[in-house]
């Protein structure tokens, strides 16, 4: 048998990996990585939020601790803003491409195995985005309820931001509480597809583990929404902060 001649070497791209991140697969990988970063943040955020069940001292203490580390907080904020921007660019540019890939639609179209959550990622994503903007204006910047945001509590050395009182005052308003609850449902729907989808996008699919990842993703998404969503419900019910 003749020896196989060596293959000519592959052409070098002018900018390494640029053609990767602009390809459909590369862009989707960025969506998955940034989605995973946002998911990680949402889990940590839930852990912080649940301190409210330990009472005002624990929550306000945690808030004061975060405030005392501005470098960490700002690094996190910039990282999250970056992740969200890439997530938006990736998903929306791909969604536009995907729409134009079928210029003439079907008269009749039936889905076969796809889930509703997998087909509504842009809708749930935009709802989450709108909520994130409102949430930041509400609790972080204090634009929508400046009176709640100005609440302080006395400490041994002075005063500090009374996050507990702010949250209770906010969620006693049923409209505000409903916005938070709806947003949590939307996040759960987004992640019930997103978590398992990320694993597939990053290249892992296994006959035994993939069904487990799917169920695990849905479970985590629901637990996340129950954890966060329980807070406005508990305030409305008077379990947190007593009855108004």
């Amino acid at each position: 048998m003749k020896a196989t001649p060596p293959l000519p070497s592959l052409p070098r791209p002018s900018v390494p990996l640029l053609s990767y991140v602009t390809s459909t697969i590369g862009r989707k990988t960025l969506v998955a990585i940034t989605g995973l970063m946002l998911f990680g943040f949402v889990i940590m955020h839930l852990a912080g939020n649940l301190l409210i069940y330990q009472g005002p001292a624990a929550l306000n203490e945690y808030a004061a601790f975060l405030k005392s580390k501005p470098a960490v907080v700002w690094a996190g904020r910039i990282g999250l803003l970056g992740a969200l921007s890439v997530h938006l660019w990736g998903t929306l540019s791909l969604a536009a491409r995907n729409r134009s890939a079928r210029p003439v639609g079907y008269r009749m179209r039936r889905t076969i195995v796809s889930t509703l959550s997998s087909r509504t990622m842009v809708l749930t994503g935009f709802t989450i985005l709108a909520f994130v903007v409102y949430h930041l204006l509400h609790f972080t910047v204090g634009v929508t309820h400046p009176d709640h945001h100005a609440l302080v509590e006395a400490t041994a050395t002075g005063t500090r931001h009374d996050v507990f009182a702010m949250v209770v005052a906010g969620f006693r308003e049923p409209v505000v509480a409903s916005i938070y609850i709806v947003a949590q449902v939307m996040l759960a729907v987004h992640l019930s597809h997103g978590v398992a989808s990320t694993v597939q996008t990053l290249g892992f699919n296994h006959p035994t583990f993939t069904p487990l990842v799917k169920r695990g993703g849905i479970t985590v998404a629901v637990l996340l929404a129950l954890g966060n969503g329980s807070i406005p419900i508990a305030v409305l019910a008077g379990w947190i902060g007593g009855n108004a």
Binding site: T24, K28, L94
Partner: protein
């Protein structure tokens, strides 16, 4: 059985198409779906009308030519079945059936239900082959390949390239097709020398043709007459990254 068909009619790529309604009063439940169209065409020709153009070749589910969206599902309601192997017993007397061509920008309509799938051919030309000199036909089992690997390669190789995955996908993505054509070689020793450039070039061509991206909704797998699993798409994602990083 008596059936009402709503069929997409279009003279050519330049002319706008529309649905026409046809009554078939004397269909048999033993007819395949394509035989139903043959039967309808005979009566159209008898009446001096243009017959409905549609693709077919083997009519035994192995060539990948037939390509009809029947009631909103590529290849019709029966899973793991090409439309040439779909029989009218799957339908009920009096049914109204909508018949459309594959819909995707990279699959332009040539006429009626026939679409141009040469975009798939160009993806194969970009790397879906083994070009290294392997000598004469080797003796059977001279190259040992584990049974598991051989089975996976075969699972990918059963792809008949019909394009139902594209037709079913909400994004008109070709990833199931391309991933099968990549995987059928990636799992065999003969495919190794060109493994990286193959996935890189085939994905590149897939993107240039204008197919959509994958959003992991998996209707492709549900529509595939050969039940190719989306597992191959995950494999392709991984292989494409590896090829790009070491480029």
């Amino acid at each position: 059985m008596r059936l009402t068909l709503e069929v997409w009619r279009q003279l050519d790529a330049q002319t706008a198409g529309m649905f026409e309604t046809y009554e078939v009063p004397d269909a048999s439940e033993h007819m395949s779906f394509l035989e139903l169209l043959d039967h309808l065409n005979e009566s159209l020709v008898r009446d001096g009308q243009e017959p409905i153009a549609f693709d077919s070749d083997c009519r035994e589910g192995i060539c990948g030519m037939c390509s009809l969206v029947v009631n909103g599902v590529p290849h019709g309601p029966q899973r793991a079945t090409t439309v040439c192997q779909l029989h009218m017993r799957e339908f009920n007397d009096g049914d109204r059936i909508v018949v459309e061509p594959w819909r995707a920008g990279p699959f332009p309509v040539i006429r009626d239900l026939v679409v141009d799938r040469t975009s798939f051919d160009r993806i194969i030309e970009a790397g879906g082959y083994v070009a290294v000199n392997t000598g004469g036909a080797p003796d059977a089992n001279a190259v040992p390949i584990g049974k598991d690997e051989a089975d996976i390669a075969f699972q990918a190789a059963v792809c008949i390239g019909c394009g139902a995955c594209v037709a079913a996908c909400k994004n008109a993505s070709a990833m199931l097709f391309v991933s099968a054509k990549v995987a059928q070689f990636a799992h065999l020793p003969q495919g190794q020398p060109e493994r990286k450039r193959r996935v890189r070039d085939m994905v590149g061509q897939m993107d240039r043709e204008g197919f959509g991206g994958c959003t992991n909704t998996y209707d492709c797998e549900g529509a595939c007459p050969k039940e190719i699993p989306v597992r191959f798409i995950a494999e392709m994602n991984r292989g494409f990254l590896a090829a790009k990083i070491t480029e």
